[in-house]
């Protein structure tokens, strides 16, 4: 069969759908979003057959939405109905009874179906027996059994799809809904009902459960009738041991992992391990990337020359992109850990362990991983929030994650703690600088938690407070799935964040490289004066010229315009420029200060600290970077949203600029007020 067509994979969560999708499409995948929301929409081409497009529909239990994410998926399914040649319905063999409910709804929508009974090996191991012949006669569906770990069964499934072996099984309640529909809609009665429920759900999102009373009771009647009928089928075709309980491995591990005390300690240890790995293991690839971008910048000058194009590429685009792409190792490592922990079934247990604590702050157990990831970098943290199915809690998690102290804040903290905090011991065994650093991390965490609490009071509820979640058995994840998930996340980060950063880098480079009026003449004159004054050291001369260039550039002029705004915080125009440039990324702040204060080519933290300590306020002739200014800067960076990559990712994850703009404005306002209060207090 060589005609092009499109099919969809549908099934309950944890039915092994993703493994099958990866197995039948390979890396030939495309990840997009459903319209208006960032539920991943994955599609790919069938292996060795590019004419067959496979869509991976996110796991569902039924077609009646409980969250906005689910509603959008249902809408997409209805929208795709005429384009889909068939549906591959995937069920976990040990959970066949549960899966038949969604199957019956898919059949009533009128889709041709190929029914895959997956994890047949697990069913055999658990002594679950399924009479396929009887199931076929009772449902009218074509069945195929698979074990996603076996290449042979996946090849068989691929062949069945290629041959388009889909059938129309017996319908369940379609005739009932057809009778309720207008005569011209006969055959579409159930589609219309699902559409009606979806439309009403969207209108009622602010209500307690998102559904009207009429729809709620109708849905319950529908589901219970289906369940009753389907139970009679499973009783005839499925045999499983009575009171089948936790498998022995799950039981043994859960006794340890969910232990009231040990469970918490294991969780903390795993987090510690992840942090260590993210910091330690990512160091050398990050250094390598850093060196590669420096090399590319040099090469760009050789290729494009020292003119505007060469400078734009070597000083603007490459460093701009490099400053963000350098985080790829951290992001990849984090997602390798997340994919591994998800694959083992541990992440569901984290929800169990932390839900109560997180609930007190308007979040749920699934928010823990994004928040903790945010300590390495907000970007993977925000992306990890996708696992949160409640739209409100997911949005809150996305909005507060940047309060967590990311690694980019660390250079700023190190410099200003060194300036503001004396080197003395507290309680005889703790260093005051270390205590201050810990305090800044704690402050960021508290800001995230109390920010969540405040947002949970402001945002309208989108669904009930109930948490009902299936917990999978423990299993060893497949390397291939970890690789595919990590690859997909990193690719998304590079493509989506890269596009925005590319343009902002160009703008920032332009502002810092050009100035109003006879800018170049002023620089030439400054150089002549310095040479005449006897400055002969090339490094010192270049540093002084760079500082002058920045002062006279558009960015410098903007810094001077901004100065009255930041003066109440204790900052001058030079700090304004650094603040402005660090909008691109927090760590740029230190680099900009180094340029402004003409730290020579042998840059080190100690040189910069010395320069900053020596800087005098021209009006008071007292140190510019006194305790008050330094503390004010530290507090500013605890709260401020100075990271365009994060804003770009928030835009990508929420599908609108509304949230990143609001996030930027609110966090900057909090940072401003807090820094003002700190400056006034220490003055």
């Amino acid at each position: 069969m060589n005609t092009s067509f499109k099919i969809a994979l549908i099934g309950n969560p944890n039915s092994g759908k993703t493994s099958i999708f990866n197995g039948i499409t390979g890396l030939n995948q495309k990840v997009g979003n459903y319209p208006g929301i960032t539920v991943s929409k994955k599609s790919g081409k069938l292996l060795r057959n590019n004419d067959v497009e496979v869509i991976d529909i996110p796991g569902l239990y039924d077609l009646y939405p409980n969250s906005y994410d689910e509603a959008v998926v249902v809408e997409e399914l209805l929208h795709q109905k005429d384009d889909l040649s068939g549906v591959v319905f995937i069920a976990d063999a040990t959970q066949l009874d549960k899966s038949l409910l969604l199957f019956s709804q898919v059949v009533d929508l009128g889709f041709p179906v190929l029914f895959v009974i997956n994890m047949i090996d697990k069913a055999e191991a658990n002594e679950v027996k399924i009479d396929l012949e009887k199931l076929k006669s009772l449902t009218g569906a074509k069945f195929i059994t698979t074990n996603a770990k076996s290449k042979e069964s996946l090849a068989d499934l691929t062949e069945q799809i290629r041959e388009s072996n889909f059938t129309h099984p017996h319908s369940y309640l379609r005739s009932y809904y057809d009778k309720l529909a207008a005569p011209e809609d006969h055959g579409n009665g159930y589609n219309n009902w699902i559409k009606e429920v979806y439309d009403a759900y969207k209108l009622n999102l602010g209500n307690s459960n998102g559904h009207s009373e009429f729809h709620s009771s109708s849905m319950i009647i529908d589901l219970k009738n289906r369940r009753r009928f389907l139970n009679s089928i499973t009783e005839q075709v499925m045999q499983k041991p009575v009171n089948l309980n936790l498998n022995e491995r799950t039981k043994w591990l859960d006794n340890i992992i969910l232990h009231p005390i040990l469970g918490g300690l294991i969780f903390v240890f795993i987090l510690f391990l992840i942090f260590q790995a993210i910091y330690a293991w990512s160091a050398w690839p990050m250094d390598l990337l850093d060196a590669s971008f420096a090399f590319m910048s040099e090469q760009a000058v050789n290729i494009f020359g020292e003119g505007i194009l060469g400078r734009l590429v070597s000083e603007g685009i490459i460093p701009g992109l490099g400053g963000v792409l350098i985080f790829i190792p951290q992001i990849a490592l984090l997602f390798i850990f997340i994919a591994f922990l998800e694959g083992t079934g541990y992440m569901s247990r984290v929800v169990f362990l932390t839900d109560r604590i997180m609930q007190k702050f308007g979040l749920n157990g699934r928010s823990v991983v994004p928040l903790i990831s945010g300590v390495a970098c907000s970007i993977p943290g925000i992306m990890a929030a996708r696992t949160i199915d409640n739209a409100k809690e997911r949005l809150i998690t996305i909005l507060v994650t940047p309060f967590m102290t990311c690694s980019a804040r660390l250079p700023v903290y190190v410099i200003f703690i060194a300036i503001a905090i004396p080197d003395k011991e507290v309680l005889g065994f703790m260093n005051l600088k270390g205590v201050t650093l810990f305090g800044l991390y704690a402050l960021g965490t508290l800001a995230a938690l109390f920010g969540s609490l405040a947002l949970s009071k402001i945002f309208k509820s989108e669904g009930s407070k109930s948490l009902l979640m299936e917990i999978p058995d423990y299993s060893l994840p497949k390397f291939r799935e970890i690789f595919v998930m990590t690859y997909e996340k990193v690719k998304t980060f590079v493509v989506e964040a890269g596009k925005v950063i590319f343009f902002i880098s160009i703008i920032l480079w332009f502002l810092a490289s050009f100035g109003p009026g006879n800018y170049q003449d002023k620089i030439d004159q400054f150089r002549s004066e310095k040479v005449s004054a006897g400055v002969v050291d090339e490094g010192v001369l270049e540093d002084e010229i760079n500082a002058f260039k920045l002062q006279e550039s558009y960015a410098g002029k903007i810094g001077k315009v901004m100065e009255p705004v930041v003066r109440p915080l204790g900052y001058d125009w030079k700090i304004s420029i650094a603040l402005l440039s660090s909008f691109a990324a927090r760590e740029v702040f230190v680099g900009t200060l180094a340029t402004i204060y003409s730290v020579n080519a042998d840059f080190s933290e100690q040189t910069l600290i010395g320069k900053l300590k020596a800087e005098k306020n021209p009006h008071t002739l007292k140190p510019q970077f006194n305790v008050a200014t330094s503390m004010s800067l530290l507090i500013f960076y605890v709260f401020a949203m100075q990271c365009m990559s994060t804003l770009a990712i928030v835009k990508r994850e929420t599908g609108t600029w509304k949230w990143p703009i609001l996030q930027f404005v609110v966090m900057t306002a909090i940072a401003y007020v807090a820094a003002f209060g700190t400056y006034q207090f220490f003055s």
């Binding site: 239990y61 959970q95 459960n209 319950i220 929800v351 169990f352 604590i357 009930s464 407070k465 948490l467």
Partner: protein, 75 residues
Amino acid sequence: MLLTDLKKDQKAFITDIKNEFNFIKRLTSLGIGINHQIELKFKAPLNGPYYICTNNRQVIMRKSDTTLIEVAPIN
């Protein structure tokens, strides 16, 4: 008695589920209903979620959810 009142490793049959739409809908979708046998395996600390085994699957639910399920303990 309510599911909330079950002790660790205690088994029971579900006798009634209070009419809270989202909860009852999700239970039905999961294939959990009246007359199903359940077993409470774990309770999270600080009044956190309950971990329950039923019908060859494990589910967690918040303590507030467990007050919606009436059960009859099996000795």
